[in-house]
């Protein structure tokens, strides 16, 4: 029989939070911002195939930072949930808030009951319609969910990037200006991020049902010029 030592709940939570924060801070950041016609998600990602940003549903996108295998599993679960809900009821019944709540509950459960907390932070973006507003839901590693009015920064040195972006882009702008400010905020004053290492996805109405689109390297450099 093994021996168990008493650890106070405060200490336990603190240890787990530190563990998760460390894992998340190691990765690079993502900025999600609302612009005048939609939502843009910008990730610094040296890999062209291991995506951090993804389509979930007609008007919903996903972004994750931290451990790839952990947030990718959450991404897949989100797509399954959305497609299953839309098939069972109707496409218009798929709501980002409901999905964000499921993520929050799961991350919260894993934080308190799991072998280890998940080292991820995720963003669920919803493009508004007659039924629902445009929203950015940020879900932290311990299940905290927040609904951000204008922009969100996940992972890495989120606080610094957040300040930089808030100063440069205090109001809603067009896509090109928003993207420029997001990239500048991610890079900071001392470096530039090569366009090839930017992963950019947008939610914007183009007359069709599906609103998510990845921007190619050419499109991104065009917008940044």
């Amino acid at each position: 029989m093994s021996n168990y030592f008493y650890v106070s709940p405060e200490q336990l939570i603190k240890d787990r939070a530190e563990f998760a924060q460390k894992g998340i801070a190691r990765g690079r950041s993502i900025v999600g911002a609302i612009y005048n016609k939609g939502v843009v998600l910008v990730a610094e990602n040296p890999s062209a195939s291991l995506n951090k940003i993804s389509e979930v549903y007609d008007r919903i996108a996903f972004a994750g930072v931290g451990k790839y295998n952990e947030f990718d599993r959450l991404r897949e679960a989100g797509i399954r949930w959305a497609d299953g809900t839309g098939y069972t009821y109707s496409r218009e019944d798929v709501d980002a808030r409901a999905l964000a709540n499921y993520y929050a509950q799961y991350l919260g459960d894993m934080f308190t009951e799991g072998q280890k907390p998940l080292e991820v932070e995720i963003l669920i973006a919803q493009l508004g319609s007659k039924l629902r507003p445009t929203k950015l839901y940020r879900i932290a590693y311990e299940g905290t969910i927040s609904d951000e009015p204008h922009f969100v920064v996940l992972g890495g040195d989120a606080e610094t990037i957040k300040e930089r972006f808030a100063q440069s882009a205090p109001e809603l702008e067009a896509l090109d200006a928003t993207l420029k400010h997001a990239v500048a905020a991610l890079a900071g004053p001392d470096r530039t991020i090569p366009v090839q290492e930017l992963e950019v996805g947008i939610l914007e109405d183009r007359g069709g049902r599906r609103t998510f689109r990845r921007l190619s390297v050419d499109e991104v450099s065009g917008l940044l010029d």
Binding site: N51, S54, E55, V56, R73, L74, E76, A77, G78, I79, R80, W81, D83, G84, T85, G86, Y87, T88, Y102, Y103, Q105, Y106, R210
Partner: protein, 263 residues
């Protein structure tokens, strides 16, 4: 429905059906609904794509509906048509459309045309061997790797067969097929393919009571679809009307004798 998380050893992967069956979103099993069916849908290849033509009538013991859409885009480059049980056919359409989109979102790439054709086989097999409500689809699309239009037909047990010329489904098939056999040539132009497709459907509507021909009174016409490198597009109502009007006038001039003016 909670968050559908799976551990690595039992993950259903990008297949929506595998996931949906496991979670009870779709159920397979027999039922006893009324059999509403009969149809004619044609798919034929031409030099740079495929043309699909389908009638609009749903038939039970009487005409149940005159404006059914039996051809739907399964995705941007693929058309899917159904014949047989309406209830099962519509479910098959929804499930297929969703499955292709689901795969694309899960893996960030779209299925190959052959992959889409093969995906349907077990669905048809399961449906047709478990209920009397048979469904037979027809899949046609633009293959972006091979850069050509391709046509796939199925047998009742789910067997998938590629056709190098044309395929037909539904009760009006013998008449449509006869017309296509006489008129088909390899490497036809789009215009020739549309004309032949419309004529084949006209013949099916003329001879098969369960296939709806052109309805000039209600202005309901068979659906005509083109799928090429640009994707899936449906012909405008006026365009389709003109094509069937031309055939109808020729037939009137020949005194209603089929073959009096074949083309």
């Amino acid at each position: 429905m909670g968050l559908p998380l799976f551990s690595a050893h039992d993950d259903p992967g990008p297949s929506f059906i595998d996931y949906a069956e496991r979670n009870g979103i779709v159920r397979t099993g027999a039922s006893s609904e009324v059999h509403v069916h009969a149809t004619t849908v044609i798919a034929l290849r031409y030099a740079t794509g495929v043309v699909m033509v389908g009638d609009r009538q749903a038939t039970g013991n009487y005409i149940a509906s005159r404006d059914v859409r039996k051809i739907e885009p399964a995705d941007r480059f693929t058309g899917l048509a159904i014949s047989g049980s309406a209830a099962r056919g519509i479910e098959l359409l929804r499930l297929t459309q969703l499955s292709f989109e689901h795969y694309e979102k899960m893996t960030d790439r779209s299925l190959s045309l052959e992959g889409k054709a093969n995906y349907l086989s077990p669905i048809i097999q399961r449906n047709n061997l478990s209920t009397p409500l048979l469904v037979l689809p027809l899949l046609a699309g633009w293959d972006r790797n091979a850069e050509q239009g391709r046509v796939f037909e199925y047998d009742g047990a789910g067997g998938c067969y590629e056709r190098s010329d044309f395929a037909t489904i539904g009760s009006g098939s013998p008449f449509a097929e006869g017309t296509l056999r006489l008129g088909f040539r390899a490497e036809m132009s789009l215009e020739e393919a549309l004309e032949l497709g419309a004529l084949a459907l006209y013949e099916a509507g003329d001879n098969d009571p369960s296939t709806g021909g052109p309805d000039f009174v209600r202005r309901i016409f068979p659906m005509m679809v083109v799928i090429d490198a640009e994707g899936f597009r449906e012909l405008e109502l006026d365009d389709v009307e003109q094509r069937f009007l031309a055939i109808s006038e020729r037939r009137t001039q020949s005194g209603g004798v089929a073959g009096g003016a074949l083309r």
